[in-house]
Amino acid sequence: MIVGERKPMEELLGMIEDFERILVLGCKGCVTVCCAGGPKEVKTLSTLIRMDRKQKGRKVITIEASTELQCEPESIRPILEKMANQYDVVLSMACGAGVQTVAKLFPDKLVLPALNTNFTGIAEEHGVWTEACLACGDCVLGRTAGICPVTLCAKGLLNGPCGGASEGKCEVSKDQPCAWQEIYHALKRLNRLHYLKQKPQVKDWPVHPGRVVREDLREVETT
C-alpha cells in the first residue's frame, strides 16, 4: 500500500494560517490502512485545529469528510460538489496522488497536503511500515528471489553488491541488511544461483511522470 505520515502540526497550522473554513478530506484507501489519513485521523486533525484556533481566540470551521479513493475523480466529485461553497481550502489527508486529483478536479480551490507520502511499502507489524518498491517501471524481482535491489540496496545496484557490507549489514546503515546478500542466500535456498550469472542488465529508467494506457478499457466515442 502507499504509506504516508501526517506532517508536523506546526507546518500544517502554518499552511492553513489565513483560512477560516477548512475541509479536512480523508481517504478510506491506503492511508486508512496505514492509519495516517482515514476517518479517525480526520477527526483527530480537525479537533487539533479547532483546539489550536480556540486557544488563539480565532474563528475556524472544520468540515470532516472522507472519500472512498481520493485518487479516483468519481470518488471525489459527489463529495466536493455537494459542499461547493462551504469551504475556503481543502486539507487533504490522502497520499500525493489524492491531493493532486482534488487539485486537478477543483482548480479554483487551494488544496493542501496534510501528509507526507513516504513510499509503497509493507506492513511489517501493527504500526510499523517499511519501504518495498520504488516503482522503477521495470521489475527485476523475478531474478532476485523476490528481494528488490533497486529499493532495498542503498545504492540501488542492479548487478550485485558493492562489497562495502560488513557482517551482512549495509555500509550506509548498520541495521539495514545488504540486499544482495539477502538475494544470494534466497537464490541459494531456491538453488537458482545461476540467475546471478545471467548477463548484466541495463535498466531503462523511466521518464517521469509515467503514464499507463489500456486502450481496451478507454471510453469509446459514439458521436
Binding site: M9, L13, K40, T44, T47, M51, K54, Q55
Partner: protein, 139 residues
C-alpha cells in the same frame, strides 16, 4: 488563580480503577471533588479522539486509570491506553498545550487509597498548570 477549581475527566475501567474508586468510597477516603468519572469496560476502549474531545470541550485535565500492568481483565487494554495517552501528549505538545494535562495511571481493584491519591495529585498538578486555554470562560 488560587481559587481555581479544575474540572478533570477520568476514564476509569470497570474491573480495576472503578472498583478502586468504589473501595476509596466505602473506606471513606476523602479526596478533592474535581474529577468526573466516565466508566468504560476497559481503558483499551478509550481512543485518542475521546481524550482530545474531552479537552476540546473544556476539561482542564484528563486521565485514564487502568489496571496494573499484567492484570488487565482484557490482557492488554491498559498497555494500549498507555500508548494512546502518550500519543495525545505528543499531539498536545505539537500545538503547545501542556502535555501534563493528560496522564495515564495504573491501579488494582484493591487500591482504594491509590485512587484517592491519584485524584489529589492530578488536581494539584492541574491547579499549578492553570485552567485550560480552551475554556477561558471558566477561569
Amino acid at each position: 488563580m488560587d481559587n481555581f477549581e479544575p474540572l478533570i475527566a477520568v476514564f476509569s475501567c470497570h474491573y480495576c480503577s472503578y472498583a478502586a474508586a468504589d473501595l476509596a468510597g466505602s473506606s471513606r477516603i476523602q479526596y478533592p471533588p474535581n474529577i468526573r468519572i466516565i466508566k468504560v469496560p476497559c481503558t483499551g476502549r478509550v481512543s485518542v479522539n475521546h481524550i482530545l474531545m474531552a479537552l476540546e470541550d473544556g476539561s482542564d485535565g484528563v486521565y485514564v486509570a487502568g489496571c496494573l500492568k499484567g492484570t488487565c481483565h482484557f490482557i492488554r487494554g491498559n498497555y494500549k491506553a498507555e500508548k494512546r495517552v502518550q500519543y495525545v501528549k505528543d499531539l498536545l505538545s505539537e500545538i503547545n498545550i501542556e502535555p501534563e494535562r493528560v496522564q495515564m495511571y495504573f491501579m488494582s481493584a484493591a487500591e482504594g487509597t491509590k485512587f484517592a491519591n491519584v485524584a489529589l495529585e492530578m488536581t494539584e498538578a492541574i491547579k499549578k498548570i492553570g485552567h485550560s486555554p480552551l475554556n477561558k470562560s471558566r477561569s
